[in-house]
Amino acid sequence: MKRTALLLLGALLVIPMTASAADEFLLGFTGFDYETGPGGTADPTPSVQLQVGDYYEAVGFITSFGPLLDPWTDPSLEEYTIFLTGLPVTSRSFFAGYLDCAFADNGRVRYYSDLIPSLGGTPADYGTNPRNLVAPSTFTDGDGTGMMRLGGDVDHFHLVYNFNNNSGSWMADVTLDEGDYLPYIPVQQRAGWILGAEAGPPNPTIPTGYDNQIQGECRIPDSTPTEIQSWGAVKALYR
């Protein structure tokens, strides 16, 4: 009797719901990536892309915000930037023109705000051959005119690059854990974010010393995916 009641309750909850899965978008970004040695020193293997022991970093601008942060941000007044760091290559393989790299856990991604330049902020500047005098410092507002708003721990960072068409992508898991925007993220949603980007092909806009353009976003999968099921299928779950 108890099991029947549970089945009925479960069925009532599940059956009327259509598939409503949708990721929640935190923010989108665009920028450039580059390689360094430990601690931001010069890339020890500049002739080899992402050799084991090289560190991956990226800087860029945030292009849009999702519902959680949009009420607290205003691109007409503030410049929003991103800095990704702390990611040494741990394994590297190459086959059929594809480069496949895995990275150590515990990297870090941080999002910053600064006033737009016309209001006294320092414009973020890529410069050349990073790290340099302006990157990442103008993206992390090291001059004190801006603030780190949100940051997180980066795990399972994985990059694949296709040299056949000069494009690739990477993705990682992020747990948001710092910054004064953190209270705007529901506690139950601070873990499980997916940070990903396309690593675009070389073109004339890439400053000297950077590897790729990146275009990406941070989002969290729908936490309660549902699907349409028949009575029979629901019952079968309990047999």
């Binding site: 989108g28 016309s118 353009q213």
Partner: protein, 247 residues
Amino acid sequence: MTTRKIGLAALLGLMSVFSFAVPAMAGPCDTGTLIDWDADAFAYESNYANLFSNPASNMTMVGVINLFCAPLNILNPQDPNKEYTFIFLNLISQGTTIIPVGTSTIFDTIYNQGIFFIYESSPRNAPLATTPMPANPPNATVPLNFSDGNVLLSGQLNNFETTVVIGSSESGNFRGDYRFTGGSLFNLVAGQTDGLFTGIWCEPVIADGSVCDVQEGYSAHPDGKFDVSAATPAANSTWGAIKAMYR
């Protein structure tokens, strides 16, 4: 939350009285971007399932634009009374191939030449990721509400290719070469040669559902951009307009 915005606006408004205006979101344009979109774009195909696009499958891609850079920065995607959308049509799949690389498996799909249109319309009526997108397109609003209004730009998309990586971590990207051929703003970009069309390509992974939870009937969520082409853009002008630049 609104209070914070108003307070910030008031404070900074005073500061801006003596400042020169700069184009909003100038920073993101520094990477060579021409047109950018993020959360609100989705693709669907006529014959697709579980990471596989079957040969001859016809793909459509729709989305809402959130950034224009020079020379298109005369358009303001933040204008609440306007909506800028795009649609890509007739991208015919050559079929998905599988390539094992290290700990990953690559799902690679090449599409034949397609066409695209960029629209300006009012009021805003395109469904968004947060709306959410209505399932099983084509339907009452997809692609219809992404293809209404005035055609600002149109063109061809060549060499379109999607790559999805499944392994210890899942990711994906797309790339293609676009060429503008028409539209009411074609004069602004008429000097451009082929440009890059790139971004994230996020497909639903059925096994664990942890990559992109797109609505039923969609095959991917792309987040991407049109890059400015390598050629220096030129625009028709008048002697008066040219002289005005130096006054």
